[in-house]
């Protein structure tokens, strides 16, 4: 009798509201079919200096679909939404990037949306597609991020036309603080020294240099053919033999005398494009599509605009709370290195093991093509994680926000 009672007891205690392991596979999971990027070229003098974002996107999409199995390559109408993150083009590139999709051969029946949440645009595009899959609105969607900082950084005032009335408002005015100054605020408010920043930046350069040399980026990079026929398939940001000492010689960029932010310990101005194809697992399995990983969750949070760089320190705990995980459960973090100071602040604040952060270098070495970065990080982290491991990508967002997302490698 006691065994029979115990048996039924186990049935009841097993179902007391605990959720399944988050790495378990379910038919309504949102899975990543493919995550790829272009090489990242240096702004103004790099390989992409003569082409605009629409050209980059067109070439990337052609390569992206060539790389996919025929089940989707020859049936692109199965894609029910394309969302493209972009920051600097007028209207986030709504017109020209829709044109790129058509030029790349995506049927006109596939709808397109342009999206801009500053540096998180690429990740927010992934979130937009994932949400639409989650609600059943679509089955398969493509999230993109593209930026030509060369063509659009200087051409338009990124702050746009802002009325005098708004400028007069004390809180609103904080949104107009240049990013470099917000980082100086982080560095001085939280006492992050120039030495620490340079050390972090040099480490990013060294990791990226090694990753490029050993071909670790080969799998995630799709070659882009330039109009003159040249093929670009290697990152241009990483420089050889960077040391904290060599970086210490660079003059501060934003505050001449006491500043700590330099061109050496801040992200580079770059051009690039990245894309993530997402589907519901039931659909991917039915169509026999490859599954490289799984999207788990996304959150964006607001932080004070004058110290916008602290964003990841608040976004990461928020998204981890949603999936019931802690910082120590995460195997790899891709935290965008907008600036060394803000990245260091977030790493220390959350107590992250620095060896788990950007193991192949970050935006300081690789570059930060604004709208592309969020999607680029996913292409990278999917190659860093081992099957079953959990990764987090995150970035700070101009005007005072942070975004973070959790992924599982399969």
């Amino acid at each position: 009798m006691s065994q029979r009672l115990q048996n039924i007891g186990n049935h009841l205690s097993g179902s007391n509201g605990q959720s399944c392991p988050i790495t378990s596979k379910r038919p309504d999971d949102i899975v990543i079919v493919s995550a790829k990027r272009s090489a990242i070229a240096r702004g103004f003098k790099g390989s992409f200096k003569d082409v605009n974002s629409d050209y980059l996107l067109t070439q990337f999409l052609i390569q992206f679909f060539n790389d996919l199995p025929p089940e989707i390559r020859e049936h692109q109408d199965l894609i029910q939404e394309v969302t493209c993150g972009n920051v600097l083009n007028p209207g986030a590139g709504a017109t020209e990037h829709r044109g790129s999709c058509l030029a790349a051969g995506i049927p006109y029946s596939v709808p397109f949306m342009a999206l801009n949440r500053q540096c998180s645009s690429g990740l927010t595009a992934v979130n937009d597609i994932a949400n639409k899959i989650k609600t059943g609105q679509i089955d398969i969607g493509l999230a993109l991020g593209v930026e030509s900082m060369t063509k659009n950084y200087a051409a338009v005032n990124p702050l746009g036309r802002i009325s005098d009335e708004l400028k007069a408002n004390k809180e609103a005015r904080k949104c107009l603080i240049p990013m470099g100054i917000t980082n100086e605020n982080v560095a001085s408010n939280f006492s992050i020294t120039r030495q620490d920043q340079d050390k972090f930046a040099a480490n990013s350069y060294n990791k990226a240099e090694k990753a490029v040399k050993t071909g670790l980026f080969k799998d995630e990079i799709l070659p882009i053919q330039l109009p003159d026929g040249r093929i670009v398939d290697t990152d241009e940001g990483p420089r050889p033999n960077v040391t904290p000492e060599s970086l210490s010689k660079i003059k501060p960029a934003f505050i001449k005398d006491k500043g700590t932010t330099t061109a050496g310990n801040a992200s580079q101005v770059s051009d690039g494009v990245a894309g993530v194809l997402l589907a519901r697992r039931s659909v991917a399995e039915k169509l026999n599509l490859p599954i490289v990983g799984r999207y788990l969750a996304f959150q964006a949070v607001g932080v004070p605009p004058e110290i916008m760089g602290v964003g990841p320190a608040y976004a990461i705990p928020r998204v981890l709370q949603d999936v019931g995980l802690q910082v120590k459960d995460i195997d790899i973090f891709e935290i965008n290195e907008a600036f060394a100071a803000q990245a260091l602040y977030c790493i220390h604040k959350l107590g992250i093991d620095i060896n788990k952060v950007n193991p192949r270098g970050g935006a300081i070495a690789l570059g930060h093509p604004l709208g592309c970065t969020g999607a680029r990080q996913i292409a990278t982290i999917m190659r860093e994680l081992q099957p079953g491991q959990i990764g987090v990508t995150s970035m700070c967002i101009g005007t005072g926000m942070g975004a973070a997302a959790v992924f599982v490698k399969e």
Binding site: M1, R4, L5, Q6, N7, I8, N10, H11, L12, S13, G14, S15, Q18, S19, C20, P21, I22, T23, S24, K25, R26, P27, D28, K134, T135, G136, D139, R280, S282, V283, E285, K286, P387, G388, I390
Partner: protein, 371 residues
């Protein structure tokens, strides 16, 4: 609107409509919530006024956990008993069984008659075996041993990451809660067990456990029930302690490779109703009238009827129930006041009639498709 019969002093575990008489049911029950004491097989008739009365009953020495009508004989009904025996009763006789089949060493938890080769039936037990029988022989025809699961085998990629209680093998891991013949293939037997695995046996294969196909159905938590779809030969439903109902296509079993001499496969779950109930689900049953309607009965004292949104009647839709806010929910029956263990669809009359029974001693007949 539900018809009711109360079994004084007994708790219901299994119920089945007769395949021969449109007004007859058999109910397996046990005293003291089936934990200790006598069992009782009730043969219930529904009269033209809609009243249910006991037409016959058979008291047994131990509690009864399941019931199956003989598909070849209108008066014969088989029960699964707590002492490890199966007993065949004739409803036109009194008191004693006409045959006893005693081989299992622990509680027999389920019995099921083969709907194609009607000479055979299958039983499953807490002793970790599934047995195939024919009514004319006292000894079983075949004993199927479910491959024991080593801790390291069970802890595959999907479980390794967590240390929560859901990821550990439960103490009931040997229990085979249910075994069933396919209604499409007389040689195919499916069973589900406390180690979370669902195993498929093809009786044409030699009796060796390295020929088994099996898949982890509920991430390490106990799989308490399984059922073959009546219209789609490759589709099965499972549920259990995690209270989610999963729908599988057994064509999509993927061999996990040669690391073990056994065939370890992972199946593609094509649909899931997450947290279908608040507590463990004890029984799932596909409708005999619809290819995409199923019934679930739970420890949360309710029974629910669901539409499987992954199939629209002619093809797979690739939709899942868990993304749908209504989850394809059709109806919930809340008449029971204790755990519901047994449930069966009526083959007769207007589609949708359901019989359910549980610890409260009630047998309810209700229509699952009338909202």
């Amino acid at each position: 609107m539900a018809l009711n019969f109360h079994m004084q002093g007994f708790s219901g575990y299994g119920v089945q409509y007769s395949p021969f008489f449109d007004n007859r049911l058999a109910v397996a029950s046990g005293s003291n919530f089936g934990l200790v004491g006598n069992g009782n097989l009730f043969i219930l008739d529904i009269d033209p006024q809609g009243r249910i009365h006991s037409m016959n009953s058979f008291m047994t020495q131990d509690c009864l956990y399941d019931v199956a009508w003989n598909e070849l004989h209108e008066n014969q009904v088989l029960v699964a008993q707590g002492d490890g025996s199966l007993r065949l009763f004739d409803t036109s006789l009194q008191k004693f069984p006409i045959a006893i089949f005693k081989e299992h060493s622990k509680e027999v938890l389920s019995c099921n008659w083969n709907l194609i080769n009607k000479q055979t039936f299958v039983s499953s037990s807490w002793d970790g075996t599934v047995k195939i029988w024919t009514p004319n022989r006292k000894e079983s025809l075949r004993t199927l041993q479910v491959q024991p699961v080593m801790q390291s085998q069970l802890v595959d990629n999907t479980i390794a990451k967590t240390n929560g209680s859901r990821g550990t093998i439960s103490a009931n891991k040997n229990c085979i809660y249910q075994a069933q013949f396919s209604p499409h293939d007389e040689n195919l037997v499916m069973c589900c067990s406390g180690n979370s695995y669902v195993t498929l046996f093809d009786l044409r294969q030699p009796n060796s456990n390295n020929k088994q196909q099996r898949f982890l159905a509920h991430n390490g938590s106990e799989t308490l029930t399984c059922d073959f779809n009546k219209y789609r030969p490759t589709v099965v439903a499972t549920s259990g302690v995690d209270s989610s109902i999963r729908i599988w296509d057994i064509r999509m079993l993927v061999n996990l490779g040669p690391q073990s001499q056994h065939i370890n496969s992972s199946a593609a779950c094509i649909n899931e109703i997450t947290r279908a109930h608040e507590l463990a689900v004890r029984k799932v049953a596909w409708s005999p009238h619809h290819p995409n309607v199923l019934l679930s009965a739970s420890y949360d004292m309710t029974c629910s009827v669901w539409q499987d949104l992954s199939y629209d009647g002619s093809r797979f839709t690739m939709k899942t129930n868990s993304i749908d806010s209504s989850k394809g929910f059709i109806k919930r029956f809340t008449g029971h006041s204790e755990f519901v263990f047994g449930a069966d669809w009526s083959l007769w009359g207007q589609p949708g009639f359901i019989a359910t029974t549980g610890w409260d001693g009630n047998v309810f007949l209700w229509n699952g498709l009338q909202r």
